[in-house]
């Protein structure tokens, strides 16, 4: 245990279920700078279990920044202070010995708390189900090289497609808007020739669903992109708006 050389105070949000009003609890924990933030939570939970208390519920799976499951607001910032990383990729070397760290769940009406730091993000799935796809059945495809796509376009589509659906953008936004998430998918699919046939239908359907889920409007503050672990650029929101207007003009 030689490398456990940081003493930390934690203020962690505890909430039994969606109906409970919730509160902060204080803990102390020892960590090492090479630990990930979630490994520090593992240590805390191990400690709580040994003391006969209930461990803190939090979501995680891949622990390498790709599944989009982890979701903690750390000292007021979704995914913590570092920028460009997910909670699971944040390491304790980003903190100092003696720090007090405040940890909360994503806060948005569209993401109700399940327990402690776990929230329900199925609203995102329903937005994709409304139109975030290309309507092509298995077996319909032509040869993959039949349609040439310039490298620049492919790269730009890829950049938008790296969104991990974590919801940090919503959590960061004072209006709890989901425009960055929706914009990323609309941008990816409208850039590619395969997605263009149903671009108008798609954008209207996705935006309608987004509104129905209770996400707020976008007022261009840009907090979403600043806190996005994948650094999805604000230009995807511009593309989303453009595609939406285009679709409306076409009567969709």
């Amino acid at each position: 245990m030689s490398n456990s050389n940081m003493n930390l105070k934690l203020k962690v949000w505890r909430q039994q279920n969606a109906n409970d009003s919730g509160h902060f609890e204080d803990y102390t924990v020892q960590a090492s700078p090479d630990m990930s933030f979630l490994e520090m939570f593992d240590v805390l939970n191990e400690q709580l279990i040994t003391e006969g208390k209930d461990p803190v519920a939090f979501d995680h799976d891949c622990r390498e920044g790709i599944c989009g499951m982890c979701s903690m607001v750390i000292n007021g910032r979704p995914h913590g202070p570092k920028g460009g990383v997910t909670t699971c990729q944040l390491h304790m070397r980003s903190f100092n010995d003696g720090d007090t760290i405040v940890v909360e769940p994503w806060r948005s009406n569209a993401f109700p708390v399940i327990r402690d730091l776990s929230v329900n993000r199925s609203a995102f799935d329903r937005i994709i189900a409304a139109g975030g796809y290309v309507s092509v059945n298995t077996g319909n495809a032509v040869d993959a090289n039949a349609t040439l796509i310039p490298k620049e376009i492919a790269d730009e589509a890829f950049e938008a497609a790296t969104c991990i659906g974590c919801g940090a953008c919503v959590s960061a936004c004072k209006n709890a808007s989901a425009m960055l998430f929706v914009g990323a998918k609309v941008t990816q699919l409208s850039l590619l020739p395969q997605g263009q046939a149903e671009a108008s239908k798609r954008v209207v359907a996705m935006v309608n669903q987004m509104d129905a889920e209770g996400f707020g409007a976008c007022t261009n503050t840009g907090a979403c992109s600043a806190e996005c672990p994948k650094q999805i650029p604000l230009t995807v929101i511009a593309t989303l708006n453009r595609e939406y207007i285009k679709a409306k003009l076409k009567g969709y």
């Binding site: 191990e46 790709i66 390491h91 790296t162």
Partner: protein, 663 residues
């Protein structure tokens, strides 16, 4: 059930390259009106599950899909990095369906079925077409065509990729296809649900018991067929590159309900992972095999050479893979590369604080391969080394940027400047539920797809072939083969779930949960998992021996007994309780671990990833015993953790079996 198990692989007759074509044109079909009355349960939404659920729904079946994460998009497939193979031969470098087939059989050390692997190679090309049509943004060349790279165990460039996030892009394609069917009402999606048992009625799989992970309620779901697409079980080793939640429970419950488990000991240890850094370590992170295209692996020639790696001159470096395997060099298959790294470290040549690591160094190719090419493209004359390095770093960034970033976040070292330190880690399990050519287990109506089955990779999987297999199974195989079973089920009405078999299965599940909650011991689930992992890694990992395996079996039995006596599961079972979920999974790993050791002990040979100390060539390579072990081990579960072995002989009619050589 024991005596009458007869393993029928149902491999179609005829010439190898015609088997699948002929099968497809003769398999019974189900007409559209009947499909609407047939319900299919798909457990798992990784590449295999999402692609299967979407495709079956497109065809008209009624589908229910399940995953334990909060969204189907988060299945472990999302984390796959390097790429997906397909025999497109877009690079005109001599690739073909036959060559992909041959490489896969050889890579698997002649322990996979010819017919399955050939089919996989055949459908590989359609996968790429399908994914591109869905809008998967694969890497492209300036001319607009798709780009390829090389992976281990091959001499052609057949790997398609999307930076180091290929799995993510492929899974999002399949997930979107799945969500489209959800939107159309053809699939009902159950996220945060965990299947805890399969329900068998009159010998056929007819449904599952699932736990709603939010409310804790147990649910009964009927299906005319059940597909397990539940991934691999590498987490039996505690530390692995798998996601934290990856587990064997679905497959294990099916096994205990009568499904045979194939080749459980065939585990893949991946050579290039970030080494363990501390006792708190919760998982290991892969550095994709694609890095071996440009990274050269070496250790110092002298023990305890403490110079900075960049200061160690060429003549003092041992590029041991290039030295031992000149034909394939750094691109030997994973099992070979892993053992070679372990050999160097065990011999005392390892690097880093723990001395349990080797270097993966990009400097040479950044300067000489990419730096020079860029310099000449940009017309820079006589560039110095610093300029070349800078140009080369830009190219490396484009190819591997996210991997380099990930490495830096974890280790705080910059791989653009210093070599990565890497060591082998558990990555993939070739073993899994035994299935026939139709992907059906020996329980009629119960199928296994993707990493959850044992089928296509023999004793060692080649890189970029798991994504291929998952999508092949889901998009192009099951949609045909399931017809062979369901065409006989069109008269079976949906069954009410209050029949005695459903009630009994739910009761069994509830009793296990209650038992876990009631032990109220002192030790956390995590601590048992960690201890099991250590036993498995030490005695059933990269190197196995009769003595070690026997010890491991005894230790696992004792640990299992201790678990059921002293584990502490906090909270209640009537609500969200991640500790309870984990407890159930670890309980199953504690049984699976024993079977893996039994299987490894029984297989008195070395092949692929299964390396028995007693069976090696003079040069330290795996020594197969084809006369006695050219079979699939299919284990049948007997009450009280006893198993009976069934053997499926492997027949090679189209490939001449040989000692595998990458020299």
């Amino acid at each position: 059930m024991s005596k009458n198990i007869k393993l029928d692989s149902k491999i179609p007759a005829g010439e190898l390259s015609q088997k699948w074509t002929q099968y497809r044109s003769s398999v019974p079909l189900v007409n559209p009106a009947n499909k609407r009355n047939l319900e299919i349960i798909v457990v798992g939404t990784g590449l295999a599950g999402s692609s299967a659920a979407a495709t079956l729904a497109e065809m008209g079946y009624k589908v229910k899909a399940f995953c334990f994460q909060d969204s189907p998009r988060r299945a472990h497939s999302i984390a796959a990095q390097g790429g997906i193979n397909a025999a497109k031969n877009y690079q005109n470098d001599g690739d073909s369906v036959y060559r992909l087939f041959y490489d896969t059989i050889k890579g698997g050390d002649y322990r996979a079925r010819e017919a399955n692997v050939h089919r996989l190679a055949e459908v590989s090309t359609s996968i790429i077409d399908q994914c591109v049509a869905q809008g998967v943004p694969f890497a492209r060349e300036y001319g607009g065509t798709l780009s390829n790279r090389s992976f281990g165990g091959t001499q052609v460039q057949r790997t398609f990729y999307a930076a180091g996030q290929t799995g993510q892009q492929l899974l999002l394609g399949a997930y979107q296809a799945l969500e489209r069917q959800v939107g159309l009402g053809n699939v009902k999606m159950y996220s945060r649900h965990e299947m805890l048992d399969v329900v068998v009625i009159d010998g056929k799989a007819r449904g599952i018991i699932a736990r709603n992970l939010i409310t804790g309620e147990l649910e009964r779901h009927f299906g005319h067929a059940v597909l397990l697409c539940t991934g691999g079980y590498g987490n039996v080793f505690y530390l692995s590159t798998n996601a934290m939640g990856s587990n064997v429970t679905a497959g294990w419950k099916a096994h205990k309900a009568g499904a045979l488990f194939g080749n459980p000991c065939f585990t893949q240890i991946h050579p290039t992972c970030i080494p363990v850094s501390g006792h708190y370590q919760s998982k290991l992170t892969l550095m994709s095999e694609s890095l071996r295209n440009d990274g050269r692996i070496w250790v110092p020639k002298n023990k305890d050479d403490n110079r900075h790696p960049n200061d160690i001159p060429e003549e003092d470096r041992d590029y041991y893979l290039e030295r031992r395997y000149p034909a394939f060099g750094n691109l030997v298959p994973r099992d070979v590369a892993s053992r070679a790294a372990k050999e160097r470290c065990d011999a005392g040549y390892g690097v880093g604080a723990s001395k349990m690591a080797v270097y993966l160094d990009f400097r040479y190719n950044m300067i000489n391969k990419y730096g020079r090419a860029e310099a000449s493209r940009l017309n820079i004359e006589n560039p110095d080394e610093a300029t070349l390095l800078k140009l080369g770093q830009e190219v490396a960034k484009e190819k591997y940027g996210n991997l380099f970033d990930m490495y830096k976040q974890i280790t705080d070292e910059d791989p653009y400047e210093v070599p990565m330190r890497i060591y082998p880690a558990v990555h993939y399990t070739m073993g899994g539920l035994w299935v026939d050519y139709e992907l059906m287990t020996n329980i009629p109506g119960l199928y296994a797809l993707g990493e959850a089955n044992f089928s296509d990779h023999g004793a060692n999987r080649l890189g970029a072939s798991a994504l291929m297999q998952g999508l092949a199974d889901g998009y192009f195989v099951i949609p045909y083969t399931i017809g062979s079973y369901l065409s006989n089920e069109i008269r079976t009405k949906s069954m009410p779930t209050d029949c005695e078999e459903f009630v009994a299965a739910e009761k069994k599940v509830r009793e296990q949960l209650e038992r876990l909650m009631s032990i109220n011991g002192k030790q956390s689930v995590e601590s048992f998992h960690r201890r099991l992992g250590l036993i498995m890694w030490d005695k059933c990992g990269m190197l196995r021996s009769e003595e070690g395996l026997k010890q491991a079996i005894a230790e696992i039995r004792a640990l299992r007994e201790e678990f059921w006596r002293d584990v502490r599961v906090p909270g209640t079972m009537n609500g969200f309780n991640p500790e309870l979920e984990k407890a159930g999974r670890v309980a199953d790993f504690l049984e699976l671990g024993e079977l893996m050791c039994i299987d490894a002990l029984e297989r008195n040979e070395s092949c692929g990833g299964h390396f028995r100390e007693e069976y090696q060539t003079e040069e330290g390579e795996a020594k197969r015993d084809d006369d006695n072990y050219m079979f699939v081990s299919a284990w049948e579960y007997k009450e009280g953790n006893e198993w009976e072995l069934h053997k499926e002989a492997l027949v090679y009619e189209n490939i001449k079996i040989a000692q595998r050589s990458y020299k």
